[in-house]
Amino acid sequence: RQTLEEMRELYEQNQADVSEAKAGRTDLIFLIRFRHCCLLRNQRCILAYLYDRLLRIRALRWEYGSVLPNTIQFHMSAEEVEWFSRYKKSLATYMRSVGGEEGLDLTQDIKPPKSLYIEVRCLRDYGEFEIDDGTTVLLKKNSQHFLPRWKCEQLIRQGILEHILS
């Protein structure tokens, strides 16, 4: 926001000089050009910063799943939150259209799976976790479980469970 203020000031100064230049003083052209360069520079820096933020938010969708933790959402501006929900929607539509009737969840199985069930250890307290056939599992710290792969993948990527190799 501060840079926007600065830019506006510079622009206004520039305008004053342009009118002066038109009145016949041609040696002020350098000054105008100089300010124009500064404005362009500021604009470039702002754009690059915002674009980089967007790229990181997009990465978050792939790492965290559809719901962002509150601490991160607090730091995003309103437009960024809206961009995120739109990106989520496009990704969901795309996933539904690819591969069969129900679609293909591209966020699963990022590494090729070797077996259907995997052994996991819980790193943090999470609470109860329900599997497809109805059994609930209580996830406490350091408890080990043998669970179907697709359920655990999300939690492992978020750091709550840990995948153990035998």
């Binding site: 040696d27 002020l28 350098f30 000054l31 050009r33 100089f34 124009h36 360069c37 500064c38 362009l40 520079r41 470039r44 820096c45 754009l47 690059a48 910063y49 674009y51 980089d52 790229l55 990181r56 997009r58 990465a59 978050l60 969708r61 792939w62 790492e63 965290y64 933790p69 601490t71 991160i72 607090f74 730091h75 990022i110 590494k111 090729p112 799976p113 070797k114 995997i118 655990c152 993948e153 492992i156 990527r157 978020q158 750091g159 840990e162 995948h163 190799l165």
Partner: protein, 212 residues
């Protein structure tokens, strides 16, 4: 191990990438130059005058960042003329042709290759030689970088990386990543699902309240 965040990389050759943060940092580097004409009222901005009404007399030497030099440089050269920084001049060029691997490129300005490519934008009679030197230095140092990046597994690489400029460092990291991935695959960790690095970083950082 699979990353989802892909930042915009630096541009190649004469053009910079508009949105690349690396390019923005690189164009912040300063160049020596000379004012061709009296520049009214610019003195305060360039740090040389007392009040806002001063003008820079013709011929004063200035240090300007690259983005400003590119903007103010005109084919008719009425405003600024740029000179080459000393690392791209004759003396250093002979050093590079003698032995390129011993030069500490990080100390000489961490953007040697990128900045050099941008310098070719300004008209300069020595341009072909500069281009040739850049290329030759890169070729000579490349073998060294490749060897060291592929063979330093799980070691402290700061001594190796200290003398490389930014482009070479990116190459080095790419090599290291390839090596690490290969070792992981050999150990059988390729199928192990891991928490992503973004998640781990967020966990470590403490979020503080933002004011204003």
């Amino acid at each position: 191990m699979s990353e989802a965040y892909f930042p915009v990389g630096p541009g190649l050759g004469l053009e910079e990438n508009f949105l690349s943060l690396d390019d923005i940092l690189m164009s912040q580097e300063k160049l020596p130059g000379r004012a061709e004409n009296t520049l009214p009222r610019l003195a305060f901005a360039l740090g040389q005058g007392a009040g806002t009404g001063d003008s820079i007399p013709e011929g004063t030497k200035l240090e300007i960042p690259l983005w400003l030099a590119k903007g103010l440089h005109d084919s008719k050269r009425r405003i600024i003329s740029v000179e080459l920084p000393k690392i791209y001049k004759e003396a250093w060029r002979t050093v590079f042709s003698a032995d390129a691997t011993v030069v500490d490129l990080h100390k000489m300005g961490p953007y040697y290759y990128g900045f050099g490519s941008q310098l070719l934008n300004f008209d300069n009679p020595e341009n072909p030689e500069i281009a040739q030197t850049l290329l030759q230095t890169f070729i000579n140092r490349f073998r060294h970088i490749m060897d060291s990046s592929q063979n330093a597994y799980n070691e402290d690489t700061s001594a190796l990386v200290a003398r490389l400029d930014e482009l070479e460092r990116a190459l080095f990291q790419a090599g290291q990543k390839g090596l690490n991935d290969f070792q992981c695959w050999e150990k059988g960790q390729a199928s192990q699902i891991t928490a992503s690095s973004l998640v781990q970083n967020y966990g470590k950082r403490k979020f503080t309240e933002v004011d204003g």
